[in-house]
């Protein structure tokens, strides 16, 4: 319960910090409400129109008041009066894109399934591949397999970056929602999954290997062997669990972060996910977009950490909360 409360506090702090970065810092850097408002009405508009829009959008208010409106928008929605009519943006309202003039939240909702599909699939692949390679390496420490796998792992991190440059695209072409056709969904995501998983599995193999080497020298492993357990069961039932604790921590962070957009992978394979959205936002300087994605990404990271914290208790009874 305390952890949940902390997660909420952290989210609020996160929203303040990100809001400040995008709305307060430009002001300190010399941007006026008018230059911000100009992005909504286009460069051809008269100074009068720009000023009017800035006023209607509340950009003339102190930043703290703007933050309050923005926060209120998230919880109860907001209405924008353009003079020609009132536009209602229902909760959760993250504002409108400067460029497309579309509300940000529905766009995020549209793109989230792409990123979630990408990250969930890839994370399963890299977790299975990384952990198995790590376990085998640890057990055959010093053998050709170990050295080879660790060499590839090291190279893998660097190679994955280069593979982006090769410009490979998904064989299925565009993203197909899971609900529409699961087979095509998997087919369209196969290459992105492998690319993303390759990037991460190397790190997980190393982490698992280190964890395994540590737990395999624990006294309770000797006890398990003394009971007459076959080696396979010693590893799977006794050693792996202890070795996975550090892996879990990193996994939570990685998945949380990627859910906020796997920018490189999405860009490479032209997947219209949150990462691509953030990329477009950054390229065009579309503040509401960037702010929206950042907030969502932060939300995912905090939630992932919360889940990892709770999973610790499941994995290790010694940290179980009363």
């Amino acid at each position: 319960m305390r952890r949940l409360l902390w997660a909420v506090v952290l989210l609020i702090v996160l929203s303040m910090v990100t809001f400040s970065i995008f709305y307060l810092v430009p002001r300190l850097g010399g941007a006026t409400p008018e230059t911000l408002a100009a992005r909504y009405v286009g460069r051809a508009a008269t100074a009068e129109t720009v000023h009017l829009t800035a006023e209607k959008l509340g950009l003339l208010d102190p930043v703290i008041v703007q933050y309050w409106h923005w926060l209120k928008g998230i919880f109860v929605g907001a209405s924008y009066d353009y003079g020609s009519g009132v536009e209602h943006c229902p909760a959760p309202c993250l504002g409108y894109s400067f460029i497309t003039k579309q509300p940000v939240w529905p766009e995020l909702l549209d793109r989230a399934p792409v990123t979630i599909s990408l990250v969930v699939g890839a994370s399963i692949i890299w977790l299975i591949a990384g952990v198995s390679i790590g376990v085998i390496s640890a057990l055959r420490r010093g053998t050709v397999f170990d050295r080879g796998a660790m060499g590839v792992a090291l190279a893998g991190v660097s190679l994955a970056f280069f593979s982006y440059r090769l410009g490979i695209t998904a064989p299925g072409g565009t993203f197909v929602p899971f609900s529409q056709n699961p087979a095509l969904w998997a087919y369209s995501l196969l290459l992105p999954w492998i690319t993303l998983a390759f990037l991460f599995s190397a790190q997980y193999a190393r982490l698992t290997r280190a964890g395994m080497l540590e737990t395999m020298s624990e006294d309770y492993i000797r006890t398990a062997r003394a009971k007459g357990l076959p080696e396979r069961m010693v590893i799977l039932k006794h050693a792996l669990r202890g070795a996975l604790t550090p892996v879990l921590t990193i996994f939570g962070l990685d998945v949380g972060l990627l859910l906020g957009g796997a920018i490189l992978t999405e860009k490479t394979f032209s997947l219209n996910g949150l990462g691509k959205y953030a990329y477009d936002g950054i390229v065009s300087g579309d503040l509401p977009k960037i702010l929206g994605v950042t907030l969502v990404a932060g939300f995912f990271v905090i939630m992932a950490n919360l889940i990892v914290d709770l999973l610790y208790g499941v994995i290790d009874p010694r940290v179980r909360l009363e």
Binding site: R140, R141, G142, T143, E218, D219, Y220, R222, T223, A224, R225, A226, K227, G228, L229, P230, K237, H238, R241, G242, I315, D316, P317, R318
Partner: protein
């Protein structure tokens, strides 16, 4: 493979010479190749143990006690062609009920572990898996060797916990090791080891990590369970008090070799090796008037890479000079001093008796 001469070195109790001992270790060597050289942890050790009896193995840290027990259990990492890291090099013979174990496949020895021979470890907190409940660990030990369903195994585990004196076993079975006290953990560990009714129980310093009051309880428990299950027990300890409490026979080890071997009565009443004298002299006594300083053994145990020539104890022995350098050059073999009592020492019987009577016994 066995040379008769080697097996003859293994002492036997009079009247049992015709019977095959339950556990017999012949000329056991356990060597570990390291970057610094070959570590000879156990170097030519022989002993025998009959069914239902307790053998105490005594010695300082690094004398090879635990290495011996792990060798019997087959728990050393053996050298393997695919590993670059060397394992332990084992030679000699280990007979469990007539079955030679060192020549068997690891899979065969594994099938005996837990079922015919089981082990209790020193520190039950680190020796039990923190991620599994005590019950899960006992159930697992039972089910490897007994094809029963979980329910039956669980009932057996509760039964075992009750037998080792854990209150409310049906509730405590759900506890994790860290929720137990030290004594309770060792009881649970014993319950786990005995769950398959093993014929041989190796207890490696079972009470070292425990409070003194709990120590006595655990020793009583081991003794009671031994008579109940009629198992043979190898008790490894550096505490002669524990040996006096439980052991029928005692093997004194030093630098991976046997120094003295005999019944507990012989060893405590007529110890024959200067090292044994040293061990006995190191026990604090309150019942001596005007207690003198303890007869501490000077120096430290030798490096197992460069074991001293001749008698490994000679650099620390106060009597090594008595036989004209023999101790420095010639390794003494175990030789009988009385029936069932052997000692590896160059002192002549008369010298030994004189030193014991006039110099050692009055101070003990």
């Amino acid at each position: 493979m066995t040379t008769p001469a080697l097996r003859d070195l293994v002492i036997r109790h009079p009247g049992q010479l015709d019977k095959q001992p339950f556990l017999e270790v012949v000329d056991l060597k356990v060597h570990f190749p390291t970057d610094d050289g070959l570590v000879k942890s156990v170097d030519g050790l022989s002993f025998a143990l009959d069914r239902g009896r307790t053998l105490g193995i005594v010695g300082e840290s690094g004398s090879g006690k635990s290495v011996t027990s792990l060798a019997v259990m087959g728990l050393h990492t053996r050298p393997s062609s695919e590993r670059t890291r060397p394992g332990a090099q084992l030679s000699g013979e280990i007979y469990l009920d007539g079955d030679e174990l060192l020549s068997k496949t690891p899979e065969y020895v594994r099938s005996l572990r837990g079922k015919r021979m089981a082990m209790i470890f020193q520190d039950p907190l680190s020796a039990m898996n923190p991620y599994h409940t005590v019950g899960q660990q006992i159930i697992e030990a039972y089910r490897i060797h007994n094809p029963v369903n979980k329910k039956v195994a669980r009932k057996h585990a509760i039964d075992m916990l009750g037998r080792v004196g854990i209150p409310e076993p049906s509730r405590r079975i759900e506890s994790y090791p860290h929720q137990f006290s030290g004594g309770m953990r060792q009881r649970a560990m014993i319950a786990m080891s005995l769950s398959c009714d093993p014929d041989l129980l190796i207890a490696d310093e079972p009470t070292t990590a425990l409070d003194v009051t709990v120590q006595a309880q655990i020793l009583d428990l081991i003794r009671d369970l031994q008579s109940e299950f009629n198992s043979s027990v190898v008790l490894i300890t550096h505490d002669l008090g524990v040996v006096a409490e439980l052991a029928d026979d005692v093997l004194v080890m030093y630098a991976g070799r046997a120094m003295e071997y005999g019944s507990a009565e012989q060893l405590f009443n007529r110890p024959a090796h200067p090292y044994t004298w040293g061990l006995l002299g190191s026990i604090p006594r309150f019942d001596r008037v005007g207690a003198e300083r303890l007869l501490a053994i000077k120096g430290t145990p030798p490096s197992l890479i460069n074991v001293p020539s001749g008698c490994p104890f000679h650099p620390r022995c106060g009597y090594a000079a008595r036989n004209g350098g023999l101790s420095e050059d010639v390794r003494p073999e175990l030789a009988p001093v009385e029936p069932g009592h052997t000692v590896a020492c160059h002192l002549s019987p008369t010298e030994r008796e004189q030193i014991w009577e006039h110099e050692i016994a009055p101070k003990l």
